[in-house]
């Protein structure tokens, strides 16, 4: 009864979230005195797969066939459910990434498993029930979910479990499942990915700016600060509504929820809907010209002043710090 963990790759490489989930599964396996089997679907080289052993996988199953090269949630869910059955795994762990959100419920439905979506901590067990903490009410609260079903799927939020090294020796096994044509009735026509940018949900540092920036022409200084910090850029809702920035950068209750180590909010007032998406950030810095801006109440560090003056100076200070 191994713990099965599905690891997502992007163009053949594992991102941090893959190691997070393997490490998360390993912590559960230790508690349950069992081992971790990692399942990878798609074209990933063996030396990349072997990295999973460094975070606690003691068996690596790879599915690398032409029809399954690209992520199709229906087909991938069938493969994961079949692997769960053949591994006799009652606990299946995966990342609550954008693709994970479309995949985990399908896996759970196939197995009639209970699904804990957006887990932010390791689970605890009492008898055959599993309890795990997740965010609810868009970050305004936490809920403890109990899965009473025999089979359990846990979708772990990115950035909520730091990967811990745990060296195992793992053999790589190849699995060639038969794929039902009905699972492939959706076609991927195009993938556009800005590879030079840090992805927002996974970013450890986020530089975010609001209406206080006055207009899109002033975003160069935001991007420069982000580049100096190796950060992703984000924005408030009115900024993306006005088309100053793409919707994919909008954070908050109705946008992306982020929980980076450092969130820098520049010219953002701190409306409740905005805070809902960022309040689980570990450290919050607020730069605002209004000392009464509500955002200061939930910040760790604050600076009062004109963003257009402060941001370039901050970028220079960060560069100077990094150069040391």
């Amino acid at each position: 009864m191994a713990i099965l963990v599905y690891v997502e790759n992007i163009e053949g490489k594992f991102k941090k979230s893959a190691f997070e989930v393997v490490s998360y599964a390993k912590a559960i396996a230790n508690e349950q005195s069992t081992s971790v089997t990692a399942l990878s679907i798609g074209n990933v080289a063996d030396d990349e797969l072997n990295k999973l052993a460094g975070f606690g996988a003691s068996k690596i199953v790879k599915v690398d066939q032409e029809q399954l090269k690209q992520f199709i949630n229906k087909a991938y869910a069938s493969v994961i459910a079949a692997a769960a059955n053949s591994e006799q795994a009652n606990i299946i762990v995966l990342s609550n990434s954008f693709s994970g959100k479309g995949l985990a419920p399908r896996v759970a439905a196939k197995l009639e498993a209970g699904l804990a979506d957006g887990a932010i901590e390791l689970p605890t067990f009492s008898g055959s029930d599993l309890q795990v903490k997740k965010t609810a009410f868009s970050n305004k609260a936490f809920a403890t979910e109990i899965i009473t079903a025999d089979k359990k799927v846990i979708a772990v939020n990115p950035n909520s479990h730091e990967p811990v090294r745990s060296e195992e020796t793992a053999a790589i096994e190849t699995l060639s499942p038969s794929v039902d044509a009905g699972d492939l009735n959706i076609v991927i026509k195009d993938i556009v990915r800005a590879t030079d940018k840090v992805s927002l949900p996974e970013a450890e540092i986020v530089v975010s700016a609001g209406r206080g920036m006055k207009g899109p022409e002033n975003w160069a200084i935001i991007e420069e600060l982000a580049a100096a910090l190796g950060a992703a850029t984000a924005c408030s809702k009115p900024v993306s509504d006005a088309g100053w920035r793409p919707h994919s950068e909008h954070v908050g209750q109705t946008g992306i929820v982020v929980s980076p180590n450092l969130y820098i909010a520049i010219g953002i007032s701190g409306a409740i809907q905005h805070l809902a998406g960022v309040s689980s950030s570990k450290t919050i810095v607020v730069i605002n010209k209004d000392p009464e801006a509500p955002f200061f109440k939930v910040a760790d560090y604050g600076m009062v002043g004109d963003a257009l003056e402060i941001v370039p100076k901050l970028t220079a200070a960060v560069q100077a710090h990094k150069a040391n």
């Binding site: 229906k74 479309g102 439905a109 209970g114 109705t254 450290t283 760790d300």
Partner: protein, 243 residues
């Protein structure tokens, strides 16, 4: 085209979220309820798609009678008719089973949900219903267009987007970008009162998960105000240890 839009009834985005004294239940007193903002986007897009055609938009909610004002609001936005499955939902699986059961008896070309419900934040319903109905599902849809029976869908992925295409029927979880939310006009509000709202009993579903307790986030410590950028960088490095 026949479209089904799933709507959840959620606390207004400005609500303070509090719980009863033993932290087992959400405290609804004084809370205003609204259509989940993403569902409002889904509904607005559905109304747009059938405008000027003989297509219909049905809204469905799984909830007790207290959700009816929210359902009427959806009718005011432009839905043709509504269905309420009469049960207080327990978890996303319960909700998905009810919707799938209803949808199998009807037959819809397109089913829309929001990307997630802003109360329990599951992001589960679209993919669960898709699995139960054996149809493709796409979660977190930023844009979609339909030509005859072919639908082209743009979904969000880390750092970019993916474009997919398939044949109807399909179920989508819509996000911002799909369209702008429609504000009901006076005619819509008047006609909503008399549009059909059917109440149906729930089907039995085993419970797979429940919520045992809620917590409010711990308040942050006092903010440290900083005067210059060097001091800020220094604090982030030495105290917060994030640089």
């Amino acid at each position: 085209m026949r479209i089904l839009v799933c709507i959840s009834h959620v606390p207004d985005t400005t609500s303070k979220i509090t719980f009863n004294s033993d932290h087992t239940e959400f405290n609804q007193s004084g809370v205003q309820f609204i259509i989940n903002p993403y569902d409002e986007i889904a509904l607005s897009r559905a109304v747009e798609l059938v405008e000027g055609t003989d297509g219909t938009v049905t809204v469905i909610n799984v909830g007790d009678a207290s959700t009816e004002p929210t359902i009427r609001k959806a009718l005011a936005v432009g839905a043709t008719d509504a269905v309420r499955i009469d049960a207080a939902p327990r978890d996303a699986w319960f909700v998905a089973k009810q919707i799938a059961h209803y949808a199998t008896e009807q037959s819809y070309d397109l089913i829309l949900t929001g990307r997630e419900s802003i109360d329990y934040n599951g992001s589960q319903v679209a993919a669960l219903v898709g699995e139960l109905l054996h149809i493709p599902s796409v979660s977190i849809v930023k844009k979609f267009d339909i030509q005859d029976r072919e639908i082209t869908i743009e979904r969000e992925i880390e750092g970019g987007k993916e474009v997919l295409s398939t044949q109807l029927p399909v179920i989508l979880g819509t996000a911002e970008g799909v369209t702008e939310p429609k504000i009901p006009n006076m005619r819509g509000i008047m006609s909503a009162r008399t549009k059909p709202l059917q109440v149906l009993p729930a089907v039995d579903v085993p419970t797979l998960s429940t919520i045992s307790k809620y917590e409010s986030p711990a308040p942050r410590g006092q903010v440290a105000m900083v005067d210059d950028v060097e001091q800020l960088v220094n604090l982030l490095h030495t105290k917060a240890k994030v640089l």
